[in-house]
Structures are given as structure tokens and as C-alpha cells.
């Protein structure tokens, strides 16, 4: 009798658990997502002129901050790129900023990161377009926007790459190490 009651109770509990798992219910064990944001403009909004090629150059870098660092993160990579436009008829888009080995303890990049290859905290910035670090949006427009997406990747490793590394090499080195990613989108034209 006791065993039967226990069994019935178990079956009842199990069915309740199954019923409770409607697709809309978040799994209780899902960690909070990595979320990237910027105080400078709204997600999907227009990048203010001060961060762009409309301003005196070099323009200050866009400030970013993030929450929800995944467990096991050893470093972050931040990429800012222009999704529109075509280079040599390929899918390659236009890079505006690439920083890697951002410390796992970091939760932001301030406005105006210095244009040096290696920052005191170990962050490395790519040299491109004859500039080290951030290059602001510059699409001349005037009738259409370009889309500048900032993407943050949490890695389970640090990248042993020199600052002379190319974008493709950095991307290749992240393969198999991405624990989390988050996007923040901006638009701009002159």
C-alpha cells in the first residue's frame, strides 16, 4: 500500500513536471544571456556623429558594456563591422574595430579607448586602415544607412596572437572556443 502510494505520487509529480514544460517556460537552469549594450545609442539606433568620421579624427571609440559573462570565460573579443557594402565581389564586410584578449573580468570598454596596439590590461587592438584600434562609421549615404554591428564573443581561452594578426586569423583562432555571443546594432550615414 505504502509502495503503491509512493508510486502514484511519483507518477503524478512526473506528469505535472511534463505539463509544466510548455515551450514558453524558460528552463530553470538556463544561465542569463550575455547582453551587450552601449550608453551612446539605442540598439538598432543611429550612431551619434561624435563617434563617426563626421567628427574630427580620430573619433573616440564607442563605449560598450555587458552583463551575463558565461562561466569559464577567459577573455572577450569585440568586433565592430559594417555589414553593407561589397569588397571585391565577396561576402567580406568592412572592419571598424577588433579587440581581443579583453580580460574576462572586464564588463565594459570606456569611450575613447586609446589608439595603441596593446592596452595596459592586455587587450590587443588590430591595426587596419593605417590606424590602430577604433575607426568610426563613415558611410557617405546620404539616402541610405549602413549597419554597424558590434559583436562580443566570450571565449574559453586567451588568444596568443600578436597585434600584427589579421582579422581572419583572429576569427579562425576563436573557432571552438566561443562560450557566448551578443550583438548590438547601430546605423549611420553622413
Amino acid at each position: 500500500m505504502r509502495i503503491a502510494s509512493a508510486l502514484i505520487g511519483f507518477v503524478l509529480l512526473s506528469s505535472t513536471a511534463v505539463l509544466a514544460q510548455t515551450p514558453a517556460a524558460p528552463p530553470a537552469n538556463r544561465p542569463p544571456p550575455l547582453v551587450l549594450s552601449s550608453p551612446a545609442y539605442e540598439d538598432g539606433g543611429v550612431v551619434p556623429d561624435k563617434y563617426t568620421q563626421k567628427a574630427p579624427q580620430p573619433a573616440p571609440s564607442i563605449p560598450f558594456s555587458w552583463t551575463g559573462t558565461p562561466t569559464g570565460t577567459q577573455s572577450f573579443v569585440l568586433i565592430l563591422h559594417d555589414l553593407d557594402g561589397v569588397t571585391n565581389k565577396t561576402q567580406a564586410d568592412s572592419l571598424h574595430w577588433l579587440a581581443w584578449n579583453i580580460p574576462a573580468t572586464a564588463t565594459s570598454l570606456p569611450e575613447g579607448v586609446p589608439n595603441v596596439a596593446t592596452l595596459p590590461d592586455g587587450t590587443v587592438q588590430l591595426s587596419h586602415r593605417n590606424t590602430v584600434g577604433f575607426v568610426g562609421p563613415g558611410w557617405p549615404g546620404p539616402a541610405s544607412y549602413h549597419h554597424y554591428i558590434a559583436e562580443l564573443f566570450a571565449l574559453d581561452t586567451r588568444l596568443a596572437l600578436p597585434s600584427t594578426t589579421t582579422r581572419d586569423e583572429v576569427i579562425a583562432a576563436t573557432n571552438g572556443h566561443i562560450l557566448g555571443r551578443a550583438a548590438y546594432e547601430g546605423r549611420f550615414h553622413r
Partner: protein
């Protein structure tokens, strides 16, 4: 004094235009160096503001989701077909860079300038268009169509609509993978346009 002739006026305007177009560092190179830049391919939707949120009817929040209506202007000279790639850029797959495709359509005819809103699982497409098939859930049969956005509750995901104008048609069928499609279009992109959207349920 004679009035300025029309051709002379046109040349003057062109020259001023060329001067004004001195690309600053970082600007994408002009498509036709020395000539006026052709107007860029522009993708838009009557249903979603660029950079805005996707209405529920296009998502898993709907019982009968439909495709996002799209239209585009300024088709580049020499376009032979279009490829549309709709993808969720907030997903990590196997710790790699690859994100999650929700809809890939290729060989959209060069004469098309829009995709109509239609049932997500059976979209109405211009003749000749091919949809990439996706593996079915849980090992089920492959499916095509627009996979409506459905991020985990409370999570904001970004869905980018990328339209490529190509100078060829792709020699591929519905069984082609995303990698096959992206490899085949490499070297043939004559225009690209993006629509940025977001969804949270």
C-alpha cells in the same frame, strides 16, 4: 552671354559630385572609381522599421506565422539573381562563429523587387527561387520555409536580413548547405543590403 548648355551643366554637376565624393579613410571604395557612385541596393520591409522589433505575427508568438514582406530598390547593373539570408546573430553553435540561419533563398530572379508576406512554412516566392532546406527537428524530414523567430523567453535576439545581388545564378539545388551557398556566391556579389531587426517574446 550664352546660357550654360545642358551637357556642360551636367559635366559640372558630375565634377562637383566627384570632388564631393573624396572617400575619407575607411569609406568603402566607390564602385566605379572616377565615376559617380551608383545608388546602393536598399532592402526594407513595410512591416518592420530598420533597427526595430519584429511584430508577433512573423514569429513563434503566432499560431500561423507568416514571412516578413520585403522589398528592395536600386538593383545593381549586371544582377542575375538575388540571395536572401535571414539569420539570428545571437546564437552560438558548437562554440564556433556560425550563427543560426532562419531562411535562405537563392536564385531569386533578377527582375524581382520584393517578396510577399505569405505562410512561413509555404512561402510564395518569385518563380525560379530556391529555398535551402534545413534538417528536421529531432531527425525528422528536411523542411524549407521561414523559421519564425523564437528566442528563449526573455532573451532579445537580433535577426539580420541580408540581401545579395549576384552576377550569376547559383548552380545549386535545395539540398545545398549554407556553406555551399556562401562559397558559390563568393566573387559574384555586385550589391548587398541589410535590414536589422530584433525580437523578444
Amino acid at each position: 552671354m550664352r546660357r550654360i548648355t545642358l551637357p556642360a551643366f551636367f559635366m559640372l554637376v558630375t565634377a562637383i559630385g566627384a570632388l564631393a565624393q573624396t572617400p575619407p579613410a575607411g569609406a568603402p571604395p566607390a564602385a566605379g572609381r572616377g565615376g559617380p557612385r551608383p545608388p546602393p541596393l536598399i532592402l526594407s520591409s513595410p512591416a518592420i522599421t530598420d533597427g526595430g522589433n519584429i511584430p508577433d505575427k512573423y514569429t513563434v508568438a503566432s499560431q500561423a506565422p507568416v514571412t516578413v514582406p520585403l522589398s528592395w530598390t536600386n538593383v545593381p547593373a549586371g544582377t542575375q539573381s538575388f540571395v536572401l539570408i535571414v539569420h539570428d546573430v545571437d546564437v552560438v553553435i558548437a562554440k564556433g562563429m556560425g550563427d543560426n540561419p532562419h531562411w535562405i533563398v537563392f536564385n531569386i530572379p533578377a527582375t524581382a523587387t520584393s517578396l510577399a508576406e505569405s505562410p512561413a512554412n509555404m512561402p510564395a516566392l518569385p518563380e525560379g527561387s530556391v529555398q535551402m532546406s534545413r534538417p528536421g527537428r529531432g531527425g525528422g524530414p528536411a523542411t524549407t520555409g521561414f523559421a519564425p523567430p523564437g528566442p528563449p523567453p526573455g532573451f532579445v535576439h537580433h535577426y539580420n536580413f541580408d540581401l545579395y545581388a549576384l552576377d550569376i545564378k547559383l548552380p545549386l539545388d535545395t539540398g545545398a548547405s549554407r556553406a555551399d551557398i556562401e562559397k558559390a556566391l563568393d566573387g559574384h556579389v555586385v550589391g548587398k543590403a541589410v535590414l536589422e531587426t530584433r525580437f523578444k517574446r
